[in-house]
Symmetry: C3
Subunit: 179 residues, 3 copies
């Protein structure tokens, strides 16, 4: 019986890891559809209540995060320091103009490092915007997603997005996420 028990326990651990991998794929692939359809609450609900989305306006990715109470910064390089502020970003005029003009926020297949109840995802984001008959690539970003397991499943705790414009910061962010 002990052999059966050992094999069962090994399988359970492996299946648990595979389920985490798929759950994080599901979380990340939900971001684009929610933000492009303008669902502010559901987009923000991918994050924890104190979750941060820094798309270029926040502190350097290697620092310890923003001062408490830092206000939301709209625009091409902004940051939002809570779930409520992320919802505000989606509702805000800057984002609304982008999606009403035609936009796709596309998250690529991530590289994931899962460690118990936390995980890090590294991926590229692209923002395609409608222009005449075709599309323009407005932004290609290097993204670091820090996840935490909650009673309701995985959530984003901190997402950092840096434009791949040649700055060392974006390249370093990519490097940190892959062993």
């Amino acid at each position: 019986m002990s052999d059966i028990e050992t094999r069962l326990a090994a399988l359970e651990a492996k299946v648990h890891e595979l389920e985490d991998q798929v759950a994080l794929y599901q979380l990340m692939s939900a971001y684009g559809p929610l933000v492009d359809s303008g669902d502010a609450e559901a987009t923000a609900g991918l994050w924890t209540e104190d979750g941060v989305y820094d798309w270029g306006g926040g502190p350097a990715p290697t620092s310890n995060g923003p001062a408490p109470g830092t206000p939301m910064k709209e625009g091409a390089a902004g940051a939002a320091y809570s779930q409520a502020a992320i919802a505000d970003m989606v509702r805000g005029p800057y984002h609304q103009e982008i999606i009403q003009g035609g936009a796709g926020h596309v998250i690529g297949l991530p590289h994931l490092r899962i460690d118990g109840d936390t995980a890090v995802g590294t991926s590229y984001s692209r923002l395609y915007r409608s222009e005449g008959e075709n599309f323009r690539i407005w932004r290609v970003g290097a993204n670091r997603w820090e996840f935490v397991r909650t009673p309701d499943g995985w959530r984003v705790k901190y997402r950092t997005n840096r434009v791949l414009n040649g700055d060392a910061e974006a390249r370093e962010l990519l490097r940190r996420g892959v062993e």
Copy 2:
């Protein structure tokens, strides 16, 4: 023994779900290579016999589908209402010109909702076309894939693709596919 039985059954159910997830990734990632290489039969074989591909020329995504016998519509915004019509699309002059000029039909990491023997995938599609030394983004689409499990595995029953040009229809399509 009952504990072992319970754990085995739980594992079997979980592994079955993981296998479905991967099988749908495999189905969706086969579309681009097949359609870009011009394999009409194999592309159409991803669908059921009565499968539909509506890339902009069909009814609104929320309606109940086309009238029976609706003919295939070629072009930038077309639709094909059977496996045979999808193969005709691939063989048709419009698609052949696109792929012989250099094209990549790229399906991004989908968000999947699997419910027994049916599933819905939500993803972005991009059609890159060769232009001089580089490429142009000809189209970025919001895609809803409705899948059905068949004796031969998962197949596409209805795929709707809408250009993300700012119309509410494309945004609504993205929203519907994510919980």
Copy 3:
């Protein structure tokens, strides 16, 4: 007891296949972050010691590979015929200029065929390069990745990348990788 044994063995085989699928996703999603951050050793470490990366300068994808000792060829269409040569490519002036100017090498969700200790992945690659405030798509490639299982996990044995410029070679490469 034999029923339990049979079910356990079936589960173990299925979980092993799922783990292979995820391990190959992880390997392929590591390429972009490593090559864009300029980590020559880690990029090359995705390959076997005798691994090949042919991005347009090598023999036709259906031939049997290069002559031994073929030197590395830098540039838009080059090839590197060993792990050490792949590291040289990353360190070389051509690649360094690309990444210091702002670049994203993005590998899409692959279609995988796993057969015991070897596997084939078929995917699209895109090289986005920073240009003014936005990005240009410098290259969209059809990719065939031939993998081998080693004592340290899956590694790339041969990667062929062909620009989707309309040539039959790139289309055939896509077709070969999908059943």
